[in-house]
């Protein structure tokens, strides 16, 4: 997030506020039932098996709440590297939760998340062009959008040089803390 500035004009009158119904999707209902291997778990197991094969791993351990991971590489001749990462506590991050894109799509990409709660705007004013479009090349520090909070416009800048792969939030809609806004591919495009 960069400096906040006073908005050029009110985006919406207060009377509108009460009419915004349920601005955030109900993310919890699907995970309320923790019993039984769900469809998601099935899919995840399949994905993990693929990961195992693709990366030539010998072992892979994974936990969810408390996020634990354990990897062991193929015990080929001379090779015996073991990586063990244990991130204490911590439930899922909203960022992980909210990303619609599959795991393959995000690998190696940078997700720009909202640092505040507010309303997401892709352009500085309703009749102006959006700051960026999908496919655009952006520079580190370039403004990608604004998030309005408490009548203040907060410009959100790119953290890296790269290409905008995907815009993950809808303009004029509320965003919460940590919600993914943009997916940037930092690989330098020729």
């Amino acid at each position: 997030m960069s400096k906040a500035r006073v908005p050029p004009r009110p985006r919406k009158d207060p009377g509108q506020l009460a009419a915004v119904p349920n601005p955030f999707p109900d993310l919890s209902s699907s995970s309320q039932e923790l019993t039984g291997m769900s469809v998601d778990q099935h899919r995840e197991i399949q994905e993990l098996i693929e990961l195992l094969k693709r990366n030539n791993l010998a072992e892979l351990e994974f936990e969810r709440d408390g996020f634990r991971i354990y990897l062991k590489r193929e015990a080929g001749p001379g090779q015996a590297a073991a990586a063990r990462e244990s991130v204490p506590a911590g439930l899922e991050r909203p960022a992980e939760r909210l990303a619609d894109s599959g795991p393959g799509e995000t690998i190696g990409k940078v997700t720009i998340t909202s640092p505040i709660v507010g309303t997401f705007y892709r352009s500085p004013s309703p009749d102006a062009d959006p700051y960026v479009e999908e496919g655009d090349i952006v520079k580190k520090g370039q403004v990608l959008c604004v998030v309005e909070a408490m009548k203040l416009m907060n410009e959100i800048e790119s953290e890296v040089d790269g290409r905008v792969v995907k815009i993950l939030a809808e303009s004029t809609k509320p965003v919460e803390f940590g919600q993914p806004l943009f997916l940037i591919d930092p690989a330098p495009t020729p």
């Binding site: 207060p14 349920n22 709440d65 408390g66 408490m150 919460e176 803390f177």
Partner: protein, 449 residues
């Protein structure tokens, strides 16, 4: 009535407020930090907004994000619960200024009662019995000495901006005063950013008695009986009950009248608690006003039948109190045990995964908790995970019920204060109602013998 309320809290009190809203037909917005994404209060609300990372200053105490969450969801009012932003006058003021109703006292109320030395000064001037103490903040060592001599030793030095036992020092002899005064000032400055301290008479083993009050926006006030919160460890309450075994009808009327006067004197609004110290000779002294709903409010609900959270909401929405003082009937006796995720011997927090959570049930038993089997107690916030409340026709019945309920309560995976509560309720002095703020320390001292 409000159509939508944002609850600026987490855990059992957030769920408590959501339950009241549901019963009133009001939509609810939960806010949460990113470690609380799957917390029960989030799942129970109609809407939810992630407002920051785990650290409370960046989330639950993050005023811009809390207000933004109210704005984007169209919430008309905010219930702050207790802790976090509940007694933050600035937050209440900003709410007022942007047209979001703060469900609680006015920002001015919070500011006035938050300055304890000043509050005592105002109220003492109106004939309210206040603890013998310095007339206001002490500006110098000589002022402190003079005040202490007048009051008589032992005295206690307290920080004006303090609370919950922090920044307090007992001084038994005149020789110790100056050093203690300097140390208290320094500590107050470090801890609260305000070096103001004041002096009070120190009572050995008094009772902590507090009166629940409700004041509507027209200034009508009712008191709802007292709570005895003498079972404390380092000023942290562990067991509360109502009525107090030390308060008879005459004293109840008198304390209630004084509490009402206090509230009227500061033009207080909404729910609040007036705290008193009760000595062995049945003298009571005003200590402070808690400008919030309190953890222990359920015991008052059990004996009055009045839902205090709903009353808070109704008052904030501008409704006058629907009952008068003479309509308030206190029936039976109620206890509350605070079940904390703590090692019961050393009181160190014990976060972790609750593998099994089986609350007790049956007649006269109430559980307020946002836990269930497979819930995680995160290490970032306070360790209160459940309040176990019992009600009975007599103190004896309410105690027997508490013992029975404690016995039924299963919380596996983490350590809790349940074993300590079992000890308290099996103690002969406690059973006789012979308690004071020194009770628990004495009980715990037996361990080290």
């Amino acid at each position: 009535m409000f159509k939508k309320i944002l609850i600026a809290n987490r855990g059992e009190i957030a769920l408590r407020v959501i339950r009241a809203c549901k019963e009133l037909g009001i939509r609810t917005v939960a806010i949460h930090s990113d470690v609380d994404t799957n917390a029960m209060h989030v799942r129970a609300a109609d809407e939810h907004v992630c407002i920051g990372p785990a650290e409370d200053v960046l989330s639950y105490r993050n005023i811009p994000n809390v207000l933004s969450a109210a704005e984007v969801t169209g919430a008309e009012a905010i219930h702050p619960g207790y802790g976090f932003l509940a007694e933050n006058a600035h937050f209440a003021e900003v709410c007022e200024s942007i047209g979001i109703k703060f469900i609680g006292p006015t920002s001015e109320n919070i500011a006035v009662v938050g300055d304890k030395a000043k509050a005592r000064e105002i109220l003492g001037g109106r004939g309210i019995p206040v603890l013998p103490g310095s007339p206001g903040e002490l500006r110098s060592e000589s002022e402190a000495l003079e005040a202490a001599r007048k009051i008589g030793f032992p005295v206690i030095i307290k920080a004006s901006a303090g609370g919950g036992g922090r920044g307090m020092r007992v001084v038994n002899k005149e020789e110790e005063l100056v050093r203690a005064f300097q140390a208290a000032q320094a500590e107050a400055k470090t801890t609260f950013g305000n070096e103001g301290v004041y002096l009070e008479r120190y009572f050995l083993e008094p009772r902590h008695i507090e009166v629940q009050v409700l004041a509507d926006e027209r200034g009508r006030v009712v008191s709802l009986g007292e709570r005895d919160c003498s079972i404390q460890r380092r000023y942290q309450k562990l067991v509360e009950e109502t009525p107090s075994p030390a308060v008879d009808d005459r004293l109840r009327r008198e304390i209630g009248r004084v509490a009402t006067e206090v509230v009227k004197a500061v033009h207080y609004r909404n729910a609040g608690t007036v705290e008193f110290l009760l000595d062995k000779d049945q003298n009571f002294y005003f200590m402070e006003v808690n400008a919030r709903i309190q953890v222990e409010h359920p015991v008052t609900e059990m004996v009055t039948g009045i839902d205090l959270i709903k009353e808070q909401i109704r008052i904030a929405a501008g409704f006058p109190l629907a009952f008068r003082q003479q309509d308030v009937r206190l029936t039976g006796h109620s206890f509350e045990c605070r079940i904390n995720a703590e090692c019961p011997e050393k009181f160190t927090p014990c976060p972790g995964l609750v593998t099994r959570f089986r609350p007790p049930g049956g007649f006269g038993v109430r559980v307020d908790s946002a836990m269930e089997s497979q819930s995680t107690v995160v290490p970032y916030y306070d360790s209160l995970i459940a309040k176990l409340i019992t009600h009975g026709q007599t103190r004896e019945e309410a105690m027997a019920r508490m013992r029975r309920a404690l016995d039924e309560f299963v919380i596996d995976g983490i350590k809790t204060t349940i074993p300590l509560h079992v000890r308290i309720f099996n103690d002969a002095e406690f059973q006789k109602g012979r308690i004071s703020t020194g009770f628990l320390d004495r009980l715990l001292a037996h361990d080290s013998v």
